[in-house]
């Protein structure tokens, strides 16, 4: 188990190194510049060199790369080109809060409702329950979340006037974006859970449980759910990452000062260091989540636990 963990961590570090290198050189290939070239051209040659030197842009590419990597190892993502005098890490730190709040809420809401819908649909297979749950699921996948967000804003925000429409002031501001974000999750999880559940209900051990005289409700939560959830965990990774790191569209619509809107802004202005920092942050977050999920498998599925222990 320990060995497995170490190997995984080494793999993660290698992955991140490759991503950092790739984004660094790709960034440098991009046309355009983070600075207003017109204004820069008004400066004298000397002043301009001084300006470049301030951001380390006067050195050859290879040296810039070595410097960037050196700083990276020390946890320094560099200074933003756009937000003057601000570290990229500080920027991320300041912006992650709202995104993480929305993400955690949307994941919890989406998983809870999605799993419940899926289980109900499976147990009431081919009944009105099943059909209604699956209609919700199809709608959730097919309606783009910005359309749903706009509907929410109009009806709940404007007509009913019970929640703030598009500004970030208190906890109540997070409710509508959370709901808008979770719709997709509900839909995906409900469909997936239903299918897995139907599969599990066909298994012989469900009959064994019934033959023991276990009441139906207990059969569900003691025998069925755990087995049905094992595959559901697989799709947990990508969902968690995409939600926790902020949704570009939803954050824009609801005016959330999150990490998603920071990303959009930095791309607009060619803020190299911020883009690189965010890409790296996303990647690191993704690989770590996948690691946690793989470890989670072991907790839920004893067959995996044992083979891990042998390693």
């Amino acid at each position: 188990m320990k060995k497995y963990f170490i190997i995984r961590v080494i793999n993660i570090l290698i992955t991140l190194f490759i991503i950092a290198t790739a984004t660094f050189f790709l960034m440098k290939q991009l046309p355009g510049s983070p600075f207003d070239e017109e204004k820069l051209s008004n400066l004298s040659e000397e002043q301009r060199m001084e300006f470049y030197a301030r951001y380390g842009l006067d050195k050859p590419l290879s040296q810039q790369y070595v410097l960037y990597m050196k700083n990276l190892v020390q946890g320094d993502l560099g200074e933003s080109f756009y937000f003057k005098g601000q570290d990229v890490s500080t920027l991320i730190k300041n912006r992650i809060g709202p995104s993480a709040l929305l993400g955690v809420q949307a994941v919890l809401l989406g998983f809870t409702i999605g799993i419940i819908l899926g289980i109900v649909a499976a147990f009431r297979h081919n009944t009105m329950w099943d059909f209604s749950a699956m209609i919700v699921a199809v709608l959730g996948v097919s309606i783009p979340n910005f359309v749903f967000a706009a509907l929410l804003q109009y009806y709940v925000g404007l007509k009913l006037g019970i929640l703030p429409v598009a500004f970030w002031e208190s906890y109540s501001s997070s409710i509508m974006p959370t709901i808008a974000l979770s719709l997709m999750v509900i839909a995906l999880i409900a469909r997936f859970t239903r299918n897995e559940m139907l599969e599990v209900l066909q298994q012989d051990y469900m009959l064994t449980a019934k033959a023991k005289g276990v009441p139906p409700f207990k059969i569900i939560y003691k025998h069925a759910i755990r087995n049905a959830l094992i595959p559901v965990i697989t799709i947990l990774g990508p969902i968690v990452v995409s939600l926790l790191t902020g949704s570009l569209v939803i954050e824009n619509i609801f005016g959330v000062p999150g990490i998603g809107s920071l990303f959009v802004d930095s791309i607009k202005v060619n803020d190299y260091t911020t883009i690189m920092g965010l890409t790296l942050f996303y990647s690191a977050f993704f690989v770590l989540t996948m690691l946690i999920i793989d470890l989670l498998y072991g907790v839920i599925d004893p067959r995996i636990r044992i083979s891990g222990a042998k390693e």
């Binding site: 012989d204 051990y205 064994t208 023991k212 005289g213 009441p215 087995n227 004893p302």
Partner: protein
Amino acid sequence: MDVETLLKVNNLHVSFSTYAGKVQAVRGVNLYLKKGETLAIVGESGSGKSVTSKSIMRLLPSNSAQIEDGEILFEGRDLANLPEREMEKIRGSEISMIFQDPMTALNPTMTIGNQIIESLLIHQKLNKTQALQKAIELLKLVGIPNAETRVKQFPHQFSGGMRQRVVIAIALACNPKVLIADEPTTALDVTIQAQILDLMKDIQKKMGTSIIIITHDLGVVANIADRVAVMYAGKIVETGTVEEVFYNPQHPYTWGLLGSMPNMETKEDLIAIPGSPPDLINPPKGDPFAERNEFALKVDYLREPPMFKLTETHYAATWLLHGKAPKIERPLKLDKKRLTVTKPVQKDAIEITVPNEPLIEVKNLKKYFNIGKNELLRAVDNLTFDIYKGETLGLVGESGCGKSTTGRTLMKLYEATEGEVLFQKEAVHGKKNSSELKQFNRKVQMIFQDPYASLNPRKTVADIIAEGIDIHGLAKTKEDRRQRVYELLETVGLNRDHANRYPHEFSGGQRQRIGIARALAVEPEFIIADEPISALDVSIQAQVVNLMKKLQKERGLTYLFIAHDLSMIKHISDRVGVMYLGSMVELASSDDLYNEPLHPYTQALLSAVPVPDPMREKSRERIILEGDLPSPSNPPSGCRFRTRCPHAIETCAKMAPEWKEAKPNHWVACHIINS
């Protein structure tokens, strides 16, 4: 209902709604179960035997199955109409059930301890510590060593046989009055089957449980049952004590079932029942068996026969027992077969012809699989044998012994790790150009185990059969190709109309015939049949085996027949090789092997096979092998069988036994046998 009768089923009707219509799976079943007795329900797939047992437990899928009529009386209550809540109290405490496949019957994410105590917590209101204590006792009762540690383990840490013991422990947890076992040994190897049957008998003796066992295996019935009910097309056609049903069968279907079972002593053709069971969406009007019954009377097609009483316990539903029916002698073969059981007839010397021209020579063949982490799976380890032209060589052994790998390696589906295979004096393995390969492929064909998975569902039967003809360019014109397909279909007992249909339109037995036709299409010399009948019902098995024997005679084919069913392999093979854990332990003519097995493993294997003869079955001494098969990736040193061998000596651990000819044409690998 008298005091002795525990359970009584009256006029039970069960139907299933399907897209095609209502399937009348059980049509008026009557049966009873007395205290402490074992009732066997025998029948082929679709006969309604499992549905009957699940109805008693009310375990049928509630959305499609329905008990239409009848009552199931248990201790004065009618289970057919009991509310679900009340039924839950009976399940697992008064009546419990053992299922067929121990690999899937246990929840993979729960410790076996928790699975055993579940019913104790529900029904007996024990606290968890008491329940766990009881679980450990139960595991000991069903013969699981180190129960204290095993109770905390998960199902995947147990072997198949051990899991079935756990399933039995779960069923016994609350000391039920009735135990229903639905094909409890079908998924197990024969030596493990013997252990489990023994365990069930032992438990019945200790706890006085009444058992209903559902099975298709008449050997198992003869071994364990007190009474038998034979089911066909949703009805019980004959019922009586085992002795009555086995020694004085009255219904033609029972004759057919008994006749289609090979036993160890006969070489004659099996009595196959022609055709296949009726469609239960529109069940036939009269006797459902009439269509397949060579003795059918006119009345059989018109009116359903009632149960005719023969003795207090013996009943049969056939018009042949009516006073006005013509006297019909039971097929002679059947009686002869039974007679030979008690005194085996000496085989004529002529039958043992010593063939001398080897078609295939296998020398020190090894096939290892790399299973990662520097581990090797020694699937086949050092085999040496010949297959003679025109003979059938049977290869028998338990699952994981390497018999299928051997077959595939002979066919060059796998490349050999070491050693060589000569086919007509030419090496099979090693580099070959494509025309040599094609030539070889034409001469060697295979028949597969699963007739459902081995035929491409999107091709017509004609295209499936003719694929080989096309590849090898055996037909000049389209007309020629069609004629060949027709001929092949007729050869395997199908007809021309079948050529344009798709595989799903056929039954299992018919599909296996298509598989045989496909193999024959390229006019091969050698056919490897890998468990060709194990997925089929008994009566259909006999049809396929008879067909294979006939084809061999007509075309001079050579067979390698791989199976785990010892009686069937004895029936079809000229010589038999017994494999254990990747190596061959004994090879001899089938008569020699069965009459005088030399290797302790062969002896145990033979003694474990239940024979369809209750008297012999109940009187004979069994050699029950302890424990499970060791893992082929880490086999025991020296002789691989030594860990389970009752005669193991010191030398066995030190060196592998030599492959020697102990008697003329009788090869064996064992230290305690001298040549």
